[in-house]
């Protein structure tokens, strides 16, 4: 086993990607709806658009999410810029209509939506998305990425830049282990989903997770191994792309044994992957105000609790 890398929030990984991007291209029109330091959308070398200063690449949209989406559509339609804009995932609510128009027109607009779950912590339920991944995944033409570590984040960014349409990057506030070895040249996120821990034909079950819950799924798999249960783990950062893979590939990834979905959001949509017999562990209610680690525990999204649920299911 290799040395453990430092934990990195995917919003931080996104900033690292932007640093590379902005030093390579001179036509960025980035921005945020007054959450620059939280979304991590502005690299140190970017400079802000001001009333008489348009030779710049960063837009302070103010607290105007709805307009930010529309303005990004306008920038994309005008042509000439790579455009992205940030806010909290939960406030995609305020720009739903603009996101929908991005999807309908297939404008190349990248929505950088951070603080993507109860992992946001103390700000509480008004700030914690629950239904938003479902809402966005249900929207045609929209690629919704929820990367699980720094490498997946870079891959998602790359795919978003290549896609002729809008993308959502749902990013974590909290630090996440880097489980992927970034030396490989393959963009695994380009498959939409793939095995991050694979017991081959010895697998007893599959845990499918996205984003910050992949780390928890891997921990759960480790725990289960002590129970002599072999749980393969799938990261599913982009459902839309995964859907486009061959049936064979999908079956190979998901397996035919018990499937367990883990995502700190609504269950809506998950049964396509976990089947009628599967277990979903996520958010049945709105969140709460507390430190993030308390919330994951409270809502049953810890490896301990997930292990228990799986054992409960297996033993009935």
């Amino acid at each position: 086993m290799k040395l453990e890398k430092p934990k990195l929030a995917t919003r931080q990984a996104s900033l690292e990607f932007l640093k590379v991007l902005s030093s390579n291209v001179d036509n960025i029109a980035g921005g945020s709806a007054d959450l620059t330091g939280s979304n991590l959308t502005k690299t140190p070398d970017m400079n802000s658009v001001k009333p008489k200063k348009f030779k710049a690449n960063y837009i302070h949209y103010g607290i105007r999410e709805h307009m930010m989406g529309a303005v990004m559509n306008g920038i994309a339609l005008h042509k000439g810029f790579i455009t992205y804009g940030g806010t909290f995932l939960v406030f995609s609510d305020y720009m739903r209509s603009s996101i929908r128009l991005s999807a309908l027109m297939k404008t190349k607009v990248i929505y950088v939506l951070t603080h993507d779950s109860i992992g946001l912590g103390e700000d509480g339920p008004t700030h914690q998305p629950v239904e938003h991944l479902a809402m966005l995944r249900a929207t045609p033409n929209l690629n919704v990425f929820r990367p699980a570590d720094a490498v997946e984040t870079a891959e998602a960014w790359e795919l978003a830049l290549k896609y002729d349409g809008p993308s959502i990057l749902a990013l974590s506030r909290q630090g996440l282990k880097t489980f992927r070895d970034e030396k490989g040249n393959d963009n695994l996120t380009s498959k939409g989903g793939y095995l991050v821990k694979d017991f081959g034909n010895k697998r007893d079950l599959t845990i499918i997770a996205t984003g910050s819950e992949v780390e928890i799924a891997l921990e759960t798999s480790d725990l289960l191994l002590k129970d002599n249960i072999k749980a393969s783990v799938v990261s599913l950062p982009c459902w839309e792309i995964f859907e486009k893979q061959s049936e064979e590939y999908k079956l190979n990834v998901l397996g035919e044994k018990l499937k367990v979905g883990v995502e700190a959001g609504s269950e809506l949509g998950w049964h396509k992957y976990i089947g009628s017999n599967g277990i979903f562990i996520g958010m049945k209610t709105f969140g709460a105000s507390a430190p993030a680690n308390h919330l994951f525990e409270h809502f049953g999204l810890s490896s301990d609790k997930i292990r228990e649920k799986i054992l409960g299911k297996i033993n009935t």
């Binding site: 036509n27 029109a29 303005v71 306008g74 339609l77 790579i82 603009s98 027109m105 960014w157």
Partner: protein
């Protein structure tokens, strides 16, 4: 930029009435749609398109063209009628007859990608205004990069009462005013009517004062007076602020029995009333026929855009920034950015 048109008032009126009649007939044929808005704003649109808007119908994606956004997207027949009159290659009489039919290029609301010259999809009210602010901002940011020689165009938007009630209009107005997006010109179809009836059912704002509060240049005109409209647009082009022109109009203008009422907003006028519109406007042609002289007037008006586009192309071909601009317009990304 603009010179006083050689077209006289009477000709302009006829050109404008062509929009009205085509809109009324298109909606009638589809038995569905919104005739009132295009009929009301026809005079404003005629001035804007025939005298000011720098587009080239033969090269609809010429980068330095002016942008036009119909934020009040339900008035889509305005665009389709105009595009036919201007001679866009994809817009013929059949298209107008197929308004709102499956696979036509004349869908119920303007859809980006379905129709040449449609710069953005509109219909959800207020979105067009926000999108236009984005276009106007991209224009300034491109201008800052490539200079006035290569990038220097206006963004014109027509908004309705609905657009201005939606919250997104506030966000857009404040932001555009703050950034002093001087090349953004917003024309308000101020007809005091929306679906539920007179707008005084739910509104009594002073829009001029409102835009002023966010640093806009503002004007009020009679939206059926060609001279006032022309002058206002010319003033707007000259200020160093974004411009708002309140155009007082009558919804369904030309409809003797229904003009000025919400009945013209979102339903066909009825066969009888369409006939009466044509009488009222002294319009003798058969359905979907535009008299040759009027069509020629419209078609002649596009020469202006063609010429401006060619001049731009000359400048472009001589410019050292050509490659860069092209590359950026095609939005090419570096191949491998994956290493972090």
């Amino acid at each position: 930029m603009s010179k006083t048109s050689e077209l006289n008032m009477e000709t302009l009126k006829k050109m404008s009435n062509a929009i009205r009649v085509l809109a009324a007939e298109g909606v009638q044929k589809a038995n569905s749609g919104h005739p009132g808005m295009p009929m009301g704003i026809a005079d404003v649109a005629t001035i804007l398109f025939s005298k000011y808007l720098n587009i080239d119908v033969n090269k609809p994606d010429w980068p330095d063209r002016d942008r036009f956004v119909l934020s009040a997207g339900h008035g889509s027949m305005l665009i389709y009628a105009l595009n036919y009159l201007l001679g866009y290659s994809d817009m013929n009489i059949e298209s107008l007859k197929n308004f709102r039919q499956l696979h036509s290029n004349t869908p119920g609301h303007p859809e980006y990608g379905d129709t040449l010259g449609v710069e953005t999809t509109t219909g959800p009210l207020g979105q067009g205004l926000g999108t236009a602010v984005g276009m106007a901002l991209a224009e300034r940011m491109s201008n800052a990069k490539f200079g006035k020689n290569l990038v220097d165009h206006f963004t014109y938007v027509i908004v309705g009462d609905g657009c201005l009630q939606e919250g997104i209009s506030h966000e857009s107005i404040e932001f555009a005013g703050h950034l002093k997006l001087a090349k953004l010109i917003v024309l308000w179809d101020n007809n005091s009517i929306s679906i539920d009836g007179n707008t005084n059912l739910s509104n009594s704002s002073n829009q001029i004062a409102r835009f002023k509060a966010s640093g806009w240049h503002t004007q009020s005109v009679d939206g059926h007076d060609f001279d006032q409209i022309s002058k206002a647009i010319e003033n707007a082009q000259k200020t160093n602020k974004p411009s708002f022109i309140a155009c007082k109009t009558i919804i369904g203008f030309g409809s003797p029995n229904l003009a000025g009422t919400e009945k013209t907003h979102g339903a066909p006028l009825g066969d009888d009333e369409v006939k009466k519109v044509k009488e009222e406007l002294n319009w003798k042609s058969n359905p979907f026929e535009v008299p040759k002289d009027i069509l020629s007037n419209w078609r002649a008006s596009v020469e202006r855009g063609l010429k401006i586009r060619k001049e731009w192309e000359d400048r472009f071909n001589k410019s050292p920034k050509k490659i860069n601009l092209l590359k950026i317009i095609q939005t090419i990304y570096p191949k491998s950015l994956i290493k972090i």
